[in-house]
Subunit: 283 residues, 2 copies
């Protein structure tokens, strides 16, 4: 405030029901505060118009930068932020050709790792309930997963879009299990959907996980290790992603000429009880 700067960073978020985002906001808030910044939080509908309206409001507040968590921005909006000298950093979402920084996990490599794991576990009827295909995360995980299956000489029994939505994922699980060629393993595009899939398989269809079907998620949210789910999942390294986001945002505030960066951070596959563990792999 002394410098005439607002010391406020706008944060645009679409979802809070997926446990990944509250955890990210908590971590971002603490780290930014330690550097003398605070968060103006705006919830946006995940639509081009919704985000545009919110970003316009943020500009009026003279925020020094904008972090978007899992929302996309139009190129028009990008240009306006650029013209006003407001850096934009996308957290957990990439966007082709956009002129701003993006911090994600290594989603293609992560998807491929899940495929290797399921194939090594002896699964041959493998399905994918993908993350929303309008998002880079959903597309990248699916692409990496399918390419690795293909390399192993396998085609998926089904690929469907779970929209990062609990109800859509539950319905996808029902449809998969009703089909003639039922899967014996499902890679689900994030943990939030994987919980819904496990609930549907166990409570509604009376199936055993992993006895009848192996389930693998993506994120490693805190709930994934709760015994009720004990979910095998590809961890997104939240703290390292948040650190990189903070460094990038502050770097661009300090040096407006700094070029946008695309940072991908790899995470490990966390082996738990929801998927058959291949021989020689250890928890």
């Amino acid at each position: 405030m002394i410098t005439g700067k607002s010391r406020i960073i706008g944060l645009v978020v679409a979802y809070l029901d997926n446990q990944f985002y509250p955890a990210a906001i908590q971590s971002l808030g603490h780290r930014l505060r330690a550097r003398g910044y605070n968060i103006l939080l705006m919830m946006a509908e995940n639509s081009t118009e919704g985000v545009a309206q919110v970003v316009q409001d943020l500009m009026a507040y003279q925020v020094e930068a904008i972090i978007t968590a899992s929302v996309a921005m139009s190129s028009d909006l990008t240009e306006r932020c650029g013209a006003l000298g407001i850096p934009v950093v996308m957290f957990n979402r990439g966007q082709d050709g956009a002129g701003f920084s993006a911090i994600t996990s290594a989603n293609r490599a992560g998807g491929a790792r899940v495929a290797e794991f399921l194939v090594a576990g002896g699964h041959r009827r493998i399905a994918h309930i993908a993350g929303w295909q309008g998002a880079s995360t959903g597309r990248d995980r699916a692409q990496g997963f399918l390419a690795a299956l293909d390399q192993a000489g396998l085609a998926p029994v089904a690929v469907t879009d779970g929209m990062y939505n609990r109800e859509a994922a539950a319905q996808a699980a029902r449809d998969l299990m009703r089909a003639a060629d039922r899967p014996d393993a499902i890679f689900v595009g994030n943990d939030h959907m994987a919980f819904a899939v496990m609930d549907t398989l166990r409570s509604e269809l009376g199936l055993s996980v992993p006895g009848d079907v192996s389930i693998v998620g993506y994120d490693d949210v805190p709930m994934a290790e709760w015994p009720a789910y004990d979910l095998t999942t590809l961890r997104q390294p939240l703290n390292r992603m948040v650190e990189a986001t903070v460094e990038t945002v502050l770097g661009q505030i300090e040096d407006p000429n700094r070029l946008p960066e695309k940072i991908e951070i790899a995470g490990p596959l966390i082996l738990r009880g929801s998927a058959r563990i291949p021989e020689g792999w250890t928890r």
Copy 2:
């Protein structure tokens, strides 16, 4: 902005791991935005010093009001906010003698309702893993619960403070089940702790819920109805609490002479599968 007002309301939150708070923030954000206000979010350690530092920062941002979610404020701080004409509204926390508004659910009545339910279900060895006793919510629920047990001629087999913390609640569950007089029902002071208690009983101790022990929580967070927990719980009417908070905050901004209000909103007991259902009570 046109009026020279900041149109920003500061929101101070201590926890985001309990699913109740992300849901509250999402609802608050949407409702305030519809009225032309936005949220400056600050995470605070739940200590007097932590909160004081955060509130001081919020004043520097010229927020028009402050909403605190489950954090306490010193009377010194209250006075300073009052002197600056910044209304403070406490969400989901009351504070005796404090000169500001507080919106809570009817925690005493809720605790009493849980006691009636467990007694009607034939339970006679009843324990309480309470919410943090430094918070009005934890104290009020415990008082209502114990008073109603007493009216039924019962004393609890044990009362312990779960601190609204997952690990503390799990440890409390272990201790209760190791004791000579093991409970056949546990009222847990919020859902977040109840999930930990159920995980501990089922996965660690091999007990059946409700076969061996009935569990009742408090809040009715979205996860409570997920089949993995299917938790019987006293619902805090989140949307009505948020509505009342928004009306109170905006009312005090518009009329600085408006007196502080204490608003308590009653919620129903939601019957699910984690506790024995007394004859004549229906889901």
